[in-house]
Symmetry: C2
Subunit: 207 residues, 2 copies
């Protein structure tokens, strides 16, 4: 049933909120009514923050992560190991890996993965710039850290082929049983790999 | 764990989104990244719609519903029955009741209900204006359609006392077993009321 909103301004605001992913018209209305209860200046700040980001966003010229300058904090940090480059889908994976505190190298943000269903091909992603980086720079190892789906595997394989002529170690992040997983319920591929790629008990304490 | 965002602009946008009710920092980041994939003009339109609403919102001088003019569409419609006024909490209830197509009277939007826990007292709501409307206008019946909670009952009773001196029928919407409810699982108060307030079988087909 179509809702009849009592105000065009209200309807516009609800329409805009409901264009966001995962937000339906009921939630959009709830958010809009919440906005009406806040101070005018607060709502201005909200609008400005979103528009400012979109207008002034910059991407690091090395790793293509979102940043405020030419180079991101990570690429600009001389203490990071520039021989190691971890290839990820986007910003969220950079943040997740940074949170582990286990990686001291640099990143390369593809901006997505190859997905013909969504119309995303290799030319839409930062793959050529990765190849250039690998050919010209100090990169010695390229770690592929994409999602473990068919699209992720396809992208991994495409990148592997593209980097084939370059003298470089190419690795992928370990796949295995997660912390807290029950062996009984693990899928066969993951469980099989975790047995094939087993580590010596003593090594397993090293990080 | 605190997240380190690679850009101040990004962090501001995430902060603003995560101030909305029901939106945490992970969802906020997802919404912000979605905004970055959209065209600049689309994002401007989004920001403008929200700010425009907050800056230019108007409330109907009769019923206090959100509208674009002095009077809302409902109060301005001469075909509506102005002897019947339905008291509701806010816009969402107006829309829900309008969607039933069963009510041809007018509304009075309180803007909330009495809730000492949230610091909302009678003076924060449009109760005085309801009393004035009842005393001066053509209102013959006032239908209380607030939520069936302690706060709703308190507000109902407060309004009932305020309207006591005025020659007016005061009614509340029927409480009973909802469509599809199982009798077995209904609470005793609702079930008790549904028996006390039973209707003749033939009447029950009338709307």
């Amino acid at each position: 049933m179509t809702q009849k909103y009592p105000s065009v301004l209200l309807e516009n605001a609800v329409n805009e909120f409901s264009k966001l992913p995962g937000i339906g018209r009921k939630t959009a209305l709830r958010l809009v009514l919440h906005m009406l209860k806040r101070e005018q200046t607060e709502v201005s700040i909200f609008g400005k923050a979103i528009v400012d980001l979109r207008m002034n966003v910059r991407y690091c010229k090395h790793c293509h992560n979102i940043c405020d300058d030419e180079l991101c904090n990570i690429c600009g940090d001389p203490r990071r190991d520039n021989s190691l480059v971890c290839v990820v889908e986007n910003l969220k994976e950079v943040m997740a890996i940074e949170n582990t505190g286990q990686f001291r190298g640099l990143y390369h943000v593809l901006g997505g993965i190859i997905s013909p269903m969504d119309g995303i091909g290799p030319s839409d992603l930062q793959i050529d710039s990765l190849v250039q980086r690998a050919a010209n720079g100090s990169m010695q190892e390229c770690i592929l850290a994409l999602r473990t789906t068919m699209e992720g595997d396809t992208t991994n394989f495409y990148i592997y082929r593209k980097l084939a002529g370059i003298d470089l170690k190419i690795s992928v992040i370990a796949r295995g049983i997660s912390l807290g997983d029950e062996i009984e319920y693990a899928d066969e591929i993951t469980l099989g790999r975790s047995i094939v790629n087993r580590r010596s008990f003593q090594d397993s304490f090293k990080v």
